[in-house]
Symmetry: C2
Subunit: 490 residues, 2 copies
Amino acid sequence: MHNRLGGGMAADTAAGEVHFRYLKLAEEIEQKVNMGVYLAGEKLPSIRKLHAQTGLSITTVYQAFIELEKRGIVEARQKSGYYVKPLLHQILPTPKIKRHRAVPKKVTINNLASSIVESMGDPGMLRLGGTVVDPDLLPHKQLMAAVKSIPAARFKDLLTLYENPMGSLVLRRQIAKRTLPISHRAAADDIVITNGCIEAVSLCLQAIAGPGETIVVESPTYPWILQVIEDLGMFALELCTDPETGLDLAAFKKAVDRNRVSGCILIPNFHNPLGFEMPVERKQAVVAFCNDRDIPIIEDDIHGDLYFGRRRPVAMQSFDKKGLVLYCSSFSKTLSPGLRIGWAIPGAFRDQVKRLKLNSSIATTSMGQYLVADFLKSGSYDRHLRTLRSALKNQACNTALAVARYFPQGTCLTAPRGGLTLWLELDAAVDGMQVFHEARKRKIAILPGIMCSTTRKYKNFIRISCGFRWSKKIEKGIAVLGEIVTKLKG
Amino acid sequence: MHNRLGGGMAADTAAGEVHFRYLKLAEEIEQKVNMGVYLAGEKLPSIRKLHAQTGLSITTVYQAFIELEKRGIVEARQKSGYYVKPLLHQILPTPKIKRHRAVPKKVTINNLASSIVESMGDPGMLRLGGTVVDPDLLPHKQLMAAVKSIPAARFKDLLTLYENPMGSLVLRRQIAKRTLPISHRAAADDIVITNGCIEAVSLCLQAIAGPGETIVVESPTYPWILQVIEDLGMFALELCTDPETGLDLAAFKKAVDRNRVSGCILIPNFHNPLGFEMPVERKQAVVAFCNDRDIPIIEDDIHGDLYFGRRRPVAMQSFDKKGLVLYCSSFSKTLSPGLRIGWAIPGAFRDQVKRLKLNSSIATTSMGQYLVADFLKSGSYDRHLRTLRSALKNQACNTALAVARYFPQGTCLTAPRGGLTLWLELDAAVDGMQVFHEARKRKIAILPGIMCSTTRKYKNFIRISCGFRWSKKIEKGIAVLGEIVTKLKG
């Protein structure tokens, strides 16, 4: 097992400097953080305790903490002590952007997909495959209490009436209240409730394009997007996408000039699998360009609320002047995947999406809509999101650190700005599908990179999800993956 | 207002015979039944009471009841008395089969549909438009009790896990246990749970055909089927359909010889809007023919359990030898429209339907599946269905009798064998759309016949639903409709 930290702070401190006692202590603590002894989000021993344990003076220990704070390894919390900061950049080098010739391609990943999805859903597996949030991080107790206190008359209505095809007005109003960083125009009547985000994307896609038409997507992208494109008989035009900033606008313009593009599906916030946040200026520029060319954008913002930074990023829809951005999201990653409640704000395509929704399944189930609306009304959602975000950030960081510890030298890794996924570039000789199969035998689910593209260029990539609470079991799983990859590297 | 009963028993008894006292009494009671004084399903006054009221001897009153029983007007229930029998045939003449040249047509009813659906969903309207079952006829109290007693651990799973894309295994097992008259091969693993029946139909249709291909449907047919065909860019080939026995096999064979047909969507049991039950031999013959020509049949059996006769009719799938019948149904008419739980038994197309389900919305909501499975397991479903069927039969009968009372002479009416709908042929001069608009102004929702076809041949037809409990309000609504039609007839 290699234990390599590329470009990290540890490397910056030359061995010669470690004759200062406080620096030596700081060095040791940092190493323990990198080795997963102290986990992201965990409290470090107090100054007094370290003083007692090490025999170093209070001042020296204090100086060590100041040094660690400077290095960005720990953060002080008032009246509580020093905590390990979840630090996602600089753990391993980020994969480089992969260039390829952008041509529309027929998608044919579906058959591969279903066998992979099956293994991801197997409860006996260590689930690093799907982007699923740990059940213990979701407010199921509150939702259960809400169910049990539904008044009888309300319950009768929920069960015995067909819901409005656009969705419950109460829920749409609650969603509309939360759309400030997303869209300045979204009222309840602009929103269509769907069976999760992927139905929203699928309905929006049917609204903007027909079979045989070409849709621009990021490369790599979320496999489900490719599957929906495949099912609808459309072509995917994959564009080079920077793992740190997203879609390359110049490449996009060129592609639009060369191809007849009917629309695009983008994930600008906490991209799956790359984890980037598209910079505001880029969002604005992409929307302006698409508005200018009348190209609709389907914006998948399912992870928008799961930011690791200080602020919720804006959505592309907020820059839209023509109603050509169709926004899609869901509560599957933040409240409950089982309830299947997502929504679309389809802009100018509202009537088409509404009609498609009505015709394909009449309406979304009433009970789920009631529960989500009830939770939003209770005011607990923002508090819940704060806790959830902090947990996800720590999990992502601990997973990344474990990858750095257990994977062979040369592994590259994204530093996600939010969301649930890490994207790993393995040695060129390693086949992600083989990693998938070997891992499956060892009861670990991951996603092979080829699922995220119509090309074969992510053959040596894998995606690891960080939705579950960090545990010894997950650490062991990452270690096994590292072993498998090392062996395949040969 | 005309009060005309065509071909009924009343007409069979010549006036000359009414000198027998018991016959005179029987005659009077029958007329009261036809006038809606005694409603289908209602108990008649006891023999003693009638003896006291009329001064006729006990023997005479008893003879009158025997006569009414012979005529099929009443039925004796042991130790309880005589009840008005819901009698659906012979109330008004059945509409004749409408012939037309069978050519594939592009469907374009969607825009009309959404405005009509909107008015049907308006809670302020008298809802004779949609095929909705009266909330008071659905077991919402039992379902509510079930929700409130879900164990916490189970609830956590329901909320926080992604359900199996094929649906909950417990529910699929329960459905599989009920498939005896439907399919001899359907095990849990052959079933895919969907968001209601229409999603099942839509997924099955996507599995068997692509855009531009031709699908055979009955004429008239359920509007939603046409809308799904329209949304998927397919063509509908409407075939002449007998209001009493269904699809004309000879016409079907001819159409298949003349056109490239990719599949068909049929509603053999309690067709919407016609209400017929396709005879067993016809079902068998249609399946044999389609098996022979490798033409898949999507069988919409949503009303299969809502029979007015003695026995649940068999499904076409039970005759299928090649896995080419894709069976679709749901619990929306029998348990809860709000839960949105339907299913498909897609035969040889199982993997495609499963994949399409996975890709379009991942899975159906877990909670609804749990509740339906729980209800089926409780053993209450068959008992509930018995009560429901009896209520629906009475409602259909009372509505039909009211149509006979309040609609102008010349009106024709189907005699449904099950389900929720009556299909009315009005005078050729009356436009169903105008009836729809006038009725809407009077706060009554109905479905204009043109919605059920790609042709204009049902211009003077309307569909009236009988899902709601018979009431003075509904009677008044039917009277208003009769008034509107009489006026439009001019």
